[in-house]
């Protein structure tokens, strides 16, 4: 079974190559189904491997199994979390491909296969990163998924802002990648190894942590946290989401940024968690502080958006904050909760983007104010959108609710307040949009601020404005929501996830995440708060609208690449400062 692990990379890559080779002759009606079939096949392979991943699969590519404990080859690790992320990425790629069936207005002339080929390459990169057990190999596939993501983000080159968004995305993420590569070089210099487990052992053999360990930790984590959109590395994300085609947003928010968080979990747990790594207390301090900052900034910014895609993008930033807190608290229960939360969130967030895409292609706008009351006739979409918003709040029995409840219980105390507030505020903002757009509730919103990104005058992504919503565009979000629901509601899923995460994690203790009365109550509390906030915002726009104190925060999202680069450097320094006490003692 372990010999099949490299096929998670090889199969979609071969599919992409064949689509490009044949793409000049293939009509679009053939190229897109071929893309779906290859993507679905890879997803099936990932799921089969996932079901066989206990005990974890280990594969030395090219048969370079270690001799006397030493190997020169690359190791792939197919444990529960890795294969779970690969399966999630594959299923979301499939969902996005089905959603975008006959979607784009203008495929490049005689390159009908290019969009499905890029999506397959995206899948290749994410699967390769998920199963990498070698730090440099992880970097290579990390770069592959980034490169594809830049191209997909800028797909609608007719619009200057699409190019701008993709360029920002490219520059900031490349900077993160350089940092990561530099960190890998430092680790290699110290240990002479590239396999993550061996690097960890090499650091331990060298003795306690010193400045080099700290520098490597900061640099590698900077690369991963840029991808995970943690504050202050997050600026690229809203700019990229606002311009990326909707199916691409589904992948970016649903799984790409979560790959960053997964990478942090994987790298800390295998490289830096020994006595020669960074002490647990310092990692916890660094990640929890950044996570809380990310959650709060994301939630505030989310509330004050009217461009629906930007609003959803900030809600992703906010939730990434929660995931980083979960990972940073370094307990097996919090890891389980975060894994469930990521699974549930992927379905909910992708479904919300899918619904927003319908609005864009039907009305040529993603602006909350311009769409006021215009989508009254789209009842089915309205139901999906509201369900997505409730899932975002963590309403039981959504997977988001279970994940949130388990993580809240694990982190405890004031941090669980952050979870409740962040999920309530982001879901409240989405519910406010739903009330304005689908119901026309409350007074019509007025434009008050000049410093705001509106979502009007957007080009639909389909050939013409849709008069009728195609079935694929509604079935996909419905299935995604059903998946998110299943994560929380189907008994056994949580137990499986818990088992897989504990088996792979360094904890060793087996945990079994489940619903508790307190968790259900906290989920209901977030949902009620979200509904209340939305109702107040709709009925009394004044006290809940524009606030002067948010102005400086909003001005930081300036669209100026230089600003974002400066913040990325400052973020790396902040990370270093937060983890510094560990090497001084």
């Amino acid at each position: 079974m372990n010999h099949l692990l490299p096929l998670l990379v090889a199969a979609p890559l071969l599919g992409a190559a064949l689509l490009v080779a044949g793409g000049r002759r293939l009509p679009r009606a053939v190229a897109e189904p071929v893309g779906c079939v290859v993507s679905a096949g890879t997803a099936a392979l990932a799921i089969v491997l996932l079901l066989n991943s206990s005990p974890p699969l280990v594969e030395w590519v090219g048969g370079w199994a270690p001799k006397d404990g030493e190997s020169v080859g690359i190791v792939l690790v197919g444990d529960g979390p890795g294969l779970g992320m690969a399966a999630l990425a594959s299923l979301l790629t499939l969902a996005a491909l089905v959603y975008s069936w006959r979607y784009f207005d203008e495929p490049p002339r005689r390159h009908a296969g290019s969009f499905p080929a890029l999506m397959l390459l995206f899948q290749t990169g994410m699967c390769g990163f998920a199963v990498a057990g070698d730090l440099f190999d992880a970097f290579v596939f990390f770069e592959l998924m980034s490169v594809v993501a830049y191209a997909l983000t800028g797909h609608r080159v007719e619009e200057a802002k699409a190019v701008q968004g993709a360029l920002t995305f490219g520059v900031v993420n490349s900077l993160g990648a350089y940092a990561m590569l530099l960190g890998i070089a430092l680790l290699y210099a110290r240990t002479g190894e590239l396999a993550m487990v061996k690097i960890g052992r090499g650091l331990d053999a060298h003795g306690g942590p010193d400045a080099l360990t700290l520098a490597a930790f900061v640099l590698v984590l900077t690369g991963l946290l840029v991808k995970a959109a943690a504050v202050p590395f997050h600026f690229w994300l809203p700019d990229a989401h606002a311009v990326a085609p909707t199916p691409v947003c589904m992948l970016l928010s649903g799984v790409l940024v979560e790959m960053g968080a997964y990478g942090v979990w994987r790298v800390y747990g295998t490289v830096f968690d020994g006595p020669g790594g960074i002490p647990a207390a310092d990692v916890e301090r660094a990640l929890v502080v950044l996570g809380v900052l990310t959650g709060l900034v994301g939630a505030v910014m989310c509330w004050y958006q009217r461009h629906i895609k930007r609003l959803l993008a900030y809600s992703t930033v906010a939730h990434m904050g929660l995931f980083v807190i979960g990972i940073g608290s370094l307990t097996p229960e919090a890891d389980d909760g975060t894994a469930l939360y990521i699974l549930g969130h992927a379905g909910v967030k992708a479904a919300l983007f899918a619904c927003t895409g319908i609005l864009l292609d039907r009305y040529g706008s993603v602006d909350e104010h311009a769409l006021y009351g215009r989508a009254r006739s789209l009842r089915g979409v309205a139901v999906l959108f509201v369900l997505g918003a409730l899932g975002l709040a963590g309403l039981p029995p959504f997977g988001t609710g279970l994940g949130k409840a388990v993580t809240e219980e694990a982190v405890g105390g004031p941090l669980s307040v952050v979870f409740v507030v962040v999920s309530a505020v982001t879901a409240g903002a989405v519910l406010r949009v739903a009330a304005h757009v689908f119901l026309g509730a409350g007074p019509e919103p007025r434009d008050v601020s000049a410093y705001e990104t509106t979502g009007i005058r957007e080009e639909p992504e389909t050939r013409h404005r849709l008069s009728r919503v195609p079935d694929t565009m509604t079935v996909v979000p419905a299935l995604l929501l059903a998946g998110s629901l299943a994560v929380g509601a189907v008994p056994g899923v949580a137990r499986l996830v818990g088992h897989a995460v504990s088996e792979a994690g360094s904890g060793g203790a087996f945990t079994s995440p489940h619903w508790t009365p307190a968790g259900v109550l906290l989920g209901l509390l977030s949902t009620v708060l979200a509904l209340g906030l939305a109702a107040l915002a709709v009925s009394r726009p004044e006290p809940f609208g524009e606030q002067p104190w948010t102005e400086p925060l909003r001005r930081l999202q300036s669209g100026h690449i230089g600003d974002y680069v400066a913040w990325t450097l400052a973020g790396a320094t902040l990370l270093g400062a937060l983890a510094l006490p560990g090497i001084l003692s």
Partner: protein, 246 residues
């Protein structure tokens, strides 16, 4: 942010990061030491498989999976460039005017072209024996063709460079690398395993098992990719124009 604030944030961030790196440097192993645990292992394995160029053994045998990822990155960049630099609705194609080229430039380019092309192919073919290989040789071969643009004109270049064929070549080379990998899985032991072909005689062209095959696939992929990439950028610079009035 104002310039002032931006500079401050940049200065603080840069200074912090610089301090971190400076502090880390003394902890690095000293330059020019005699112990290279990884290097020793790599050379040993490379010689065991009759591959004279250890770098090629690392790239196409020991860590061939990384090279597969790098191939994917280049391949994705090509598709990405084709998609992003496409001719959009508000653009049209204008036939480029031939320009006069001074005689010495023309002569030089036309003499050097075959030499450069041959050098590129040589570097690819001897990748498993001497420094170089598919990545380097592919770039040399692809740039050689572009001497026609300097020596003659754009249309002469277009005549020797049917972009469609190069795109197909790019994809087929990538498929070739993958198929070699699959063959390792089906007929041998593992994906990309170098156990199918005999390792041959040390320091001959056919030595190293599948290393020359993978090296050739990368050479073809890189050459085709560079041609397509340059063609797309030249297209934007030379041929595609914004429609007037839009």
């Amino acid at each position: 942010m104002t310039r002032r604030v931006r500079r401050w944030v940049l200065a603080v961030g840069g200074a912090g990061l610089a301090a971190l790196l400076v502090a880390a440097c003394p902890a690095l192993p000293p330059f020019g030491g005699a112990t290279h645990p990884y290097g020793d292992r790599v050379v040993h394995e490379s010689l065991a498989r009759q591959t004279a160029n250890t770098i090629a053994s690392v790239n196409f045998d020991q860590r061939a999976f990384d090279t597969l990822g790098e191939l994917g990155i280049l391949f994705a960049s090509v598709i990405g460039t084709v998609v992003l630099l496409r001719q959009t609705r508000d653009e049209r194609r204008a036939a480029p005017e031939p320009a006069a080229v001074s005689l010495p430039v023309r002569r030089y380019a036309l003499i050097v072209l075959p030499v450069a092309l041959l050098t590129g192919l040589y570097v690819v073919a001897h990748g498993q024996l001497s420094p170089g290989g598919g990545f380097q040789g592919g770039v040399v071969a692809a740039t050689a063709l572009h001497l026609l643009y300097l020596g003659a004109d754009y249309r002469a270049l277009e005549n020797v460079r049917p972009i469609g064929l190069y795109e197909v070549g790019d994809a087929l080379a990538a498929s070739g690398y993958l198929v070699t990998g699959f063959a390792g899985l089906l007929g041998g032991t593992a994906f990309l395993a170098n156990t199918l072909l005999p390792y041959g005689t040390f320091n001959t062209l056919a030595s190293g098992g599948t290393v020359p095959l993978l090296n050739a696939a990368i050479g073809m992929e890189v050459a085709c990719a560079v041609v397509v990439l340059l063609a797309r950028f030249l297209d934007q610079a030379v041929e595609i124009e914004k429609e007037s009035g839009s």
